[in-house]
Symmetry: C2
Subunit: 481 residues, 2 copies
Amino acid sequence: MTNLYDRHSVLLARAVEALRTRAFWTPFPEVPSGKVYGETAKAEGLAAFEALVGKAFDMPGHPEMRRVGRENAPWGKALSISYPANDPATLIAASQKAADKWASVDPETRAGILLEALTRLNAMSFLIGHSTMHTTGQAFPMAFQAGGPHAQDRGLEAVAAAYSEMTGSATAVTWEKPQGKHAPITLEKRWRIMPRGVSLMIGCQTFPNWNGYPGLFASLATGNTVIVKPHPGAILPLALSVKVLRDVLAEEGFSSDVVLLAADEPGAEVTKDLVETQAFSIIDYTGSSVFAAWLRKNAGSALVFTEETGVNSITITGTDDFAGMCDNIAFSLSLYSGQMCTSPQNIYVPQGGIETDAGHKHFEDVVSGIVAAVDRLLSDGAQAASICGAIANASTFERVEKARQAGRVVRESRETGFGSSATPLLVVVDDREGGPERNECFGPVSFFIACADAHDAIAKAAAIATEKGRSRQHFMPRMAP
Amino acid sequence: MTNLYDRHSVLLARAVEALRTRAFWTPFPEVPSGKVYGETAKAEGLAAFEALVGKAFDMPGHPEMRRVGRENAPWGKALSISYPANDPATLIAASQKAADKWASVDPETRAGILLEALTRLNAMSFLIGHSTMHTTGQAFPMAFQAGGPHAQDRGLEAVAAAYSEMTGSATAVTWEKPQGKHAPITLEKRWRIMPRGVSLMIGCQTFPNWNGYPGLFASLATGNTVIVKPHPGAILPLALSVKVLRDVLAEEGFSSDVVLLAADEPGAEVTKDLVETQAFSIIDYTGSSVFAAWLRKNAGSALVFTEETGVNSITITGTDDFAGMCDNIAFSLSLYSGQMCTSPQNIYVPQGGIETDAGHKHFEDVVSGIVAAVDRLLSDGAQAASICGAIANASTFERVEKARQAGRVVRESRETGFGSSATPLLVVVDDREGGPERNECFGPVSFFIACADAHDAIAKAAAIATEKGRSRQHFMPRMAP
């Protein structure tokens, strides 16, 4: 057992215990406060971020044929950072070359290295927060949490789950099978973990670390090597993560190329080229169902793990706090301008209205109550920007514009005055086959749908969840059987 | 918790413990002895088998549109048993109708029912042995073990592994997230196991129960319903298993249709029709890589678990017991006429020979030593039949005949005089691209291949293992994520 496993064994044991009990527990505080992260952490994080802007990102020893980098600037601040880039064959060869030693060590050694990396990433959470903010368009508090401690939680959970699976059975036994009066058959049995091979982690634009860490750390913990392919609009958060992992690997005597970066630019994405090599044993992906289907078809023998688009619903059948409900829904609709996998899109309300603490509310009363709550919440531009953030991808504006034609607009989307912004567009639509609410409309767009009654509203929400919102996440072992 | 869980909870706990320690343990004795199974068990098992022959197999309450049944008679004894048969839509509808209640109960209830079924199947091991013998062509002792206690071990292992996974994390927790000076966020969280849906278990001809029980019992333990599609040549062992499961299910108040039989006849197999309904969430299959590839392509969103053909090798580089080695290899080549997934096919020997306790042995000495050992082992017809068993499938004879043309025959395949038999054919072949030893030749055929030296022999055996023998078994969770 290495020094790093010893250093982090208590952390690992507590994480394994939390997996078992499912109670709340985290070693990574979510509050972006100097009291927690050190009085100078905030200023140092900002300075570290500014020092990266406009420069060639330093990735010692990483294979490099050229430089690329044309990331998003949702808040208007262009990063202008260049990253090492390579053709797929070079990256895959480097990954394969690094594989044997990483595969051969015990689960403790790998867990120690990964927990050291997560601990260092946690200390960098302010830098990661700024990197996440200026690539995804999240407001800083969300960017800090989602790119920093919450993503680190997910990385830790992956390491703990992998460690738990890898150590749940004996790795050696003297196996004795009785043979009646004869001497027993005795076998000295030994088992060792066999990784699957090279893993590809395809990052997404809105939550690069949060969606990326589970696959990244699970593949590494189980002894696979990983090529990280960030979204071309949001490279920096994952580049920082890859760099920290490479640093710790090198310090511990492993090839840094156990983790590699496959950066690219919008319009010249390398994802399909990578996948079509058929060199991967595992592929992790977060994003559209269309590309996920392409992956499943073209991934060869790779295990494909995806988190895909869905349609989230709110069904309103009554409340004992109408004002509170409207405020709560307004916040959910506004947060990060509907760019979260949990953002509600469809709001089902009985045509005849609902009973509330403020008396009967007709369908139109519910609609106007929520519209007014959104207007109230976002009345101040700076506060609106702190809630809505900015829009990560220009195609979201096109979807908002198209959704305006989908029905009766009851609230127009507006700018906050900060960055590329769009507050919620709210549209009353008819419930009909092929209606606009039947598919995901990613971004700050929500639809009100009048239903026959409460049962019909629940049935409609259940149907869309079954059809479009069914989880496509698959969890399968990252070790060879 | 039900009565059946209470009855078998110690058995389950010991099986879970054996999974963890990997030490030898079984509750199902492998010796076909009256001392173990009761003095009358042997006679009763045979009588029960004879009572089934030539009759309509009784499967109370099973959907039935017609009767089918044209099983193998490798020992010359035709079973002439008819089984209920249905179109795929009827079976799938019945399975789906039975699903909800089975899915909704706790893991303990399901485990109790499955362990009761395994315990009853164990008591029926003599009947199962005769059923396995007269469908697969195994000699009785192997048929008893592989169709009975060893298959039951595998079913028990599947139940224990599923139970262990389903109960490893809390199912309820009061989740409290601190909020600094404010009151914590408190959530009452509940989890429940979500099965995937209807499972299809496609049985094989040579080891119907042994290869079928892991998928069957794993799917059931995790709350899925199962349609069992036996090989048309070997229905009876799985029909008996399905019947016992249906009996216990009905006694415990569940629909028997949680487990259904999809029997068919040679030349009119229903497997493709079943798969093409795309109604299955899980498919288990043992057999050829060609059909496994078809399954993966046509299974839709089903998880496909397969055990496929491979090429097993022996590499001889020296020995301190030449006579013992030859006898041991002779037994491996002869046992069940090479119809086991572990039967050796390719024997790699250095061209220049090997060092042994009996002096240097040239390549030809090694070949003739093994040939002589096979001849010696099988010199008596009755003993040969007890080792070689009979041939399950007529196409095996065609492969033997074709292999005679593949090189220099050093031992001809012969009949034992009992049933449809074939003793080992041994052929010296050249090592060349596309040689006959490069693909699986299922049945009593082995090839000797002369190699440059010991290192070359090991390299060749390793290469064929990587190319053809790589395990295709995938183990993935049978619960929805």
